[in-house]
């Protein structure tokens, strides 16, 4: 009930925004190739579903594959870092360099070395990888000092300490990284698709935006954009729900689902 009441203001604000948009387009007679009304965008979404939905499928698949690879790689490397600190000192700078270099600048290079499909996947992976690695590394070092002492008192082995203490203690940090990574994987996939442009064998949503732009089909551009935004929201909400479920016993530290 309380959650419902909290959801009312943003929903009203969004509906108000759509109504104002529609009203402005209609009263000012703005042609659809300049700014389509939301009703037209909605209609295009339905009319062009045979084109847009497969494209959504392609982009979503790449995003999720990139995110899965980033999760696996980020967690594995974070565990190696936690077990051997000199590895962290040696290799964390590489991860930082990859992170601070804009993906849009790396993408053209990747397209030279890899097939477009691989390059797009690599981009999604690269941007999602760092927040997961950084957060998990931080989390693995975050176990309470007293608990670590307790493990030492009972003669816990390195792997027992990792499995029973460090990894569970890292969970909230890992999920924070995963939520950031989920959004970034989508951005990476879209940025790479834009760069790959027409060479792309598989046509994702970003390619459809570029293509619609060439044809001055502005409503379809908006429709594709709306689908991308919805996908981003859906990924974030799904990861937030997963995190909330996994941390439900933590009480104080469990982040509220937004």
């Amino acid at each position: 009930m309380k959650a419902l009441r909290r959801a009312v203001p943003p929903i009203l604000a969004f509906l108000g925004f759509l109504v104002a948009w529609e009203a402005i387009v209609r009263t000012a007679n703005i042609p659809p190739y300049v700014l389509p009304a939301p009703s037209l965008v909605g209609a295009t979404l339905v009319a062009d579903r045979a084109i847009l939905l497969p494209a959504l499928g392609v982009t979503l698949t790449i995003t999720l594959e990139g995110l899965a690879a980033a999760t696996l790689g980020g967690v594995l490397i974070a565990i190696l870092f936690a077990q051997w600190r000199w590895l962290e000192r040696a290799f964390l700078p590489f991860a930082v360099i990859l992170q601070v270099t804009p993906i849009i600048a790396i993408a053209p290079l990747l397209l030279i070395y890899c097939t477009p499909a691989t390059a797009v996947l690599l981009c999604a992976f690269l941007v999602a990888f760092f927040p997961i690695l950084a957060n998990t590394t931080l989390g693995l070092a975050s176990a309470e000092r007293n608990l670590r002492d307790l493990f030492a008192l009972y003669g816990a082995s390195r792997w027992q300490t990792l499995w029973l203490l460090k990894m569970p203690a890292a969970l909230p940090f890992f999920f924070a990284g995963l939520r950031i990574g989920g959004g970034l994987a989508l951005i990476g996939a879209i940025a790479a698709e834009l760069t790959a442009g027409t060479q792309g064998g598989r046509t994702g949503l970003a390619f459809r935006i570029v293509e619609a732009g060439y044809r001055l089909n502005i409503p379809r551009m908006f429709a594709a954009l709306a689908l991308i935004a919805l996908t981003g929201i859906a990924i974030y909400a799904a990861l937030a729900a997963l995190s909330h479920w996994a941390l439900r016993h933590w009480h104080e530290s469990a982040p509220e689902a937004p």
Binding site: N146, L153, Y154, G155, L164
Partner: protein, 251 residues
């Protein structure tokens, strides 16, 4: 009540920052006693516990008898220090799991200590669902599950309200009587120190040292008005005086 279970002789501790936490001190802990270490914050009470547990090494001197096999020491911290992701049973049986005790035996021993601290119905509860006092009981159960020879408690009830603390004090004395464990209990409450102890060791700060020792005759526990009996209050008075003198005397 004879053999020294663990003895500190000429033990001092200087931290890498240069802070002298403990002036050389001697302290022998006899098997079966309940020793309370009483003193202001910063007097090195917790350092003494950590040295005895082997969590830290002395800068000079020797801690004799402190070669513990895993599980011979139980440690209760100021906070309950439970794993929030694990339920009560998993938290309590952690020491057994780390020592690879077979699951069936571990479950049985876990049930035993949970019954001992009065938490048998809460085995499947999570720490976030328990009150502060109940969490501390879980922490005590975890310290007892490995059947330690020595139980070290570092201001365990400091964060618990007074009524809950009285209850926990009585529970601790009952457990002590049932299990015949040696206990070293750190506190900054005179009343708690006297109530629990067979011997109160008064410490002073900067640098940490032993200022006085008061043997406690526990016969007041048998008096019907225990906590308000003249004998108990008189002892508290004596210990308070020793504490005040220790604070004044700067070496």
């Amino acid at each position: 009540m004879s053999e020294a279970l663990v003895a500190l002789s000429g033990v001092s501790k200087t931290y890498p920052s240069g802070t002298l936490a403990l002036d050389p001190l001697d302290l022998a802990v006899r098997e079966g006693e309940l020793l309370t270490l009483l003193g202001p914050s910063g007097c090195g009470k917790s350092t003494v516990l950590r040295l005895i547990a082997g969590l830290e090494r002395p800068s000079s001197g020797e801690v004799e008898g402190a070669v513990w096999r895993p599980g011979e020491i139980g440690f209760v911290f100021q906070e309950a220090t439970l794993m929030p992701w694990a339920d009560v049973a998993a938290n309590v049986s952690l020491p057994l799991r780390l020592q690879k005790v077979p699951a069936r035996e571990a479950r049985q021993r876990c049930d035993e200590v949970l019954a001992l601290v009065g938490l048998a119905p809460f085995a499947k509860a999570f720490p976030s669902e328990l009150s502060g006092g109940m969490r501390m009981r879980v922490s005590i159960a975890r310290a007892l599950v490995s059947r330690p020879r020595l139980l070290l408690m570092d201001e365990p009830f400091a964060a618990i309200d007074e009524i809950g603390r009285f209850q926990l004090n009585d529970d601790l004395l009952r457990l002590k009587a049932e299990l015949a464990t040696t206990i070293i209990f750190v506190t900054h409450s005179v009343y708690e120190a006297v109530y629990l102890a067979t011997r109160v060791v008064v410490m002073a700060a900067r640098p940490g040292r032993i200022a006085a020792e008061v043997a406690v005759d526990q016969s007041f526990h048998r008096a019907p008005d225990g906590r308000t009996s003249a004998a108990y209050l008189d002892l508290c008075g004596r210990v308070s005086k020793a504490l005040a003198q220790a604070a004044k005397a700067v070496p």
